[in-house]
Subunit: 338 residues, 2 copies
C-alpha cells in the first residue's frame, strides 16, 4: 500500500443489480491542506447494505451518489497532517471520507474521535459505531424492548442483526434470529448467543421454524429484509408488538414489490411498524456508543469481521455483501493501523 | 313499537359478503330481573363497519358472534325496572345490549350513564361515544396531531372520519378527507369544515386530487379503508409521518389482500404505522367524552345521523352501511325516546 492517492468512483447505476463494474479505481491527486483543514489517511472502509440505495437513482432518504464522484462511505482513518485546531496529527477519526486512500477534511465530515485504547479501531465502524447504534436505536428506542420479550431479527448473523440479538440478551429478552445458511445459523447460536436461529435457506417457509422458536409469540421484530421473511414474522406477532423497519435488503428496488397487506394484522394486534434511520439520531451517538462500550467491556458484544485488503477490492466486496456471501461485518482495509 | 320482546339473531357467516338474510328476527321471552339486575328498554342501536368482522369466523380481536345468538351491538336504552343499586329506573345508559328490544343487565355490559341534558341521547353512540373516542384516540394519541399538520382521513364523511376532520380543525391542523360520491364530498366541505375533500369515485386514481389538496404533504393519516386509497396517501407522506390504522373496510377478508409493500416508504420517511382498537382505551373514556363534549358545546363537532326505524330494519341497514350507502352515523331507532 503506497502513499499514492486513489479513488473508487461511481460509473453507473444499478439496473437493478449492483455489479462491480459500476465502479472504477482511478488515480487521484494527493491533496494539500489549507488552514482549518487536515489530511486523513483512510485505514478502514465500511460496506453497508444501504449502499445499494445510495447509488440508485430512486427516491431515498439521501441524494444519490453522483456519477463520476468517489463512492461515499464510512471510514476510520488517521490524521496525518493537520491545520485544524480540534484534530491534531495522530488523531484517529471515524468519518465519511468515502472510497479514497487520502482525503482532506475541514471536520464537517468527521463523526467522532476514536479511542484506540477501548477496542480495535475497526470496531468504530460496526459494533461500537453505526451498526451498533442502529441496533440500539431500533431495539431500545423504536421497539422499546423489555425483559421477557421475545425479539425476532432478520439478517441475524450480520453486523446489525448480531448486535440486536446480543442487546436483547443483555436486557433479559429472548433472541430469535433468521439467517441464511447453516454456518451463519451456527454463528448466531454459538458465537452471538441467540436462543434460537432459523436458516431461511433450509426450508421453503420459515413459519414452522418460527413457531418452534417462539412459543410465546413475538413482541419485538427488528427487520432488515422485508418480503417473505417479514410476512412470516408478522403472522406471529403478539398484541402490542413493535416492529422496527431498519432495511429492505430482501425487497427489489424495481418493480415496486407487492405482498400481503399488513394493515389488518397491525389492527387486530394493535401493533406498530416504524421505519427509522440512524442518521436522525446522530445527536445521541456519544451516549449510545458509551452504553455499547459498557456491554463490550462486560463481554456481551461479540463481533465478526469479514475483511478484504486494498481499496480496489471494495466493489467486489460490496457485491458479495449484497448477495449475502459475507460472514461478519464487511470491511475493506485500505491502509495499515498506526 | 309494542312492549313485546324481539331479538335479531345471527343465522350464518359472511361468504364474504354480508347479506341481510344472515340474520333473522325472532320473538323472545320478556325477561324477568333478579336482585342486582335491571331491565333495559333499548332505544337506539348503533351499526358499525366493524360488524363484518364481528360475525366473520376469522381471526379477529374478539370472538365471533355465535350462530343463533342475538347480534351484538352498542345501544342506548332506558332502565325501565331495576333491582340494581347503581342504575335506578329512568336512568339512560349506553351499553352493549345488542339487537334486542329488551335486555336484562347486571351492569357488566353497561359502558356508562348518559346525561340527556348534554345532547340528544343518540350522540352517546357516535360523536360523544365510541366513534368520537375512536377519532380522538387515533388522531390525538396515535398520530399525535399538532397545529400546522396536514391530516388525511378516509371515509371522511362517516361517523368516525367526520370527527377526525373536525378534531383536526379544532386543533389547528389542515383536514383533507377522502370520501365516496359528490354528496358526501359536499357534506365534508360544507358541514364538517374540511379544507379539501376528494371523491374517490370520481377518478380512477385519487393521487392527483391528493396532490392538489396537500401541497405540503401529509403528516397524519387516519385510515379506515386500506387498499388503493391507503397506497395513494402513503405515497404522499412526509418525513416523520404517523399513520393510525383504525379499519380496513376497503380490504376483502378473503383472500388475503395483496398490494404494494409499505416497508420502504416507512423506512425512507421514518414513518410510523400503528393499529389501535378503541376497546383498549375504555379506562380513558370518561376523560375523552369530556373533551369531546367541550368541542360539541363550542360548536366544533357537527354530526349527521342516518336512521332507520324498527329493530327488524337493522340487517338491511347494516348491509347498506357496509356498501357505503349511508350518509351520517347509521342508527336504528328501536324504541321512542323517554
Amino acid at each position: 500500500m503506497s502513499d499514492e492517492n486513489r479513488h473508487v468512483v461511481l460509473r453507473g447505476r444499478p439496473d437493478p443489480a449492483v455489479r462491480a463494474d459500476l465502479f472504477e479505481t482511478v488515480d487521484a491527486e494527493m491533496p494539500r491542506i489549507a488552514d482549518g483543514q487536515m489530511l486523513i489517511r483512510v485505514i478502514w472502509l465500511s460496506l453497508e447494505p444501504a449502499m445499494r440505495g445510495w447509488i440508485a437513482d430512486a427516491p431515498n432518504y439521501s441524494q444519490p451518489v453522483p456519477i463520476g464522484a468517489p463512492m461515499t462511505g464510512f471510514t476510520v482513518g488517521e490524521v496525518v497532517e493537520s491545520r485544524h485546531p480540534r484534530y491534531p496529527a495522530g488523531t484517529i477519526v471515524q468519518g465519511r471520507q468515502g472510497w479514497r486512500r487520502f482525503a482532506v477534511s475541514d471536520g464537517s465530515d468527521i463523526d467522532r474521535v476514536v479511542d484506540p485504547a477501548l477496542a480495535p479501531i475497526s470496531t468504530a465502524l460496526h459494533v461500537l459505531g453505526m451498526n451498533g447504534a442502529t441496533a440500539y436505536v431500533g431495539l431500545v428506542d423504536v421497539c422499546r424492548v423489555k425483559a421477557g420479550d421475545t425479539v425476532a431479527v432478520t439478517t441475524a448473523a450480520g453486523a446489525v442483526g448480531s448486535v440486536v440479538g446480543q442487546i436483547a440478551k443483555a436486557l433479559g429478552a429472548r433472541a430469535v434470529g433468521v439467517t441464511g445458511g447453516p454456518e451463519k445459523r451456527r454463528i448466531c447460536l454459538e458465537e452471538f448467543g441467540f436462543d434460537a436461529a432459523i436458516d431461511y435457506k433450509a426450508a421453503e417457509d420459515i413459519g414452522p421454524g418460527l413457531d418452534a422458536a417462539t412459543p410465546d409469540g413475538i413482541d419485538c421484530f427488528f427487520d432488515n429484509v422485508g418480503g417473505a421473511q417479514f410476512d412470516a414474522v408478522l403472522d406471529r406477532i403478539n398484541v402490542g408488538a413493535r416492529i422496527a423497519i431498519c432495511g429492505t435488503i430482501g425487497m427489489p428496488s424495481f418493480p415496486l414489490p407487492v405482498g400481503p397487506r399488513p394493515n389488518r394484522q397491525l389492527l387486530v394486534k394493535r401493533a406498530r411498524m416504524e421505519g427509522f434511520l440512524i442518521l436522525d439520531h446522530y445527536d445521541r451517538f456519544a451516549e449510545i456508543v458509551e452504553r455499547l462500550s459498557g456491554w463490550y467491556r462486560d463481554g456481551h458484544l461479540k463481533y465478526r469481521e469479514d475483511v478484504t485488503v486494498g481499496l480496489d477490492t471494495a466493489p467486489d466486496a460490496l457485491v458479495a455483501l449484497l448477495a449475502g456471501r459475507n460472514t461478519g461485518k464487511a470491511l475493506v482495509r485500505v491502509g495499515d493501523d498506526p
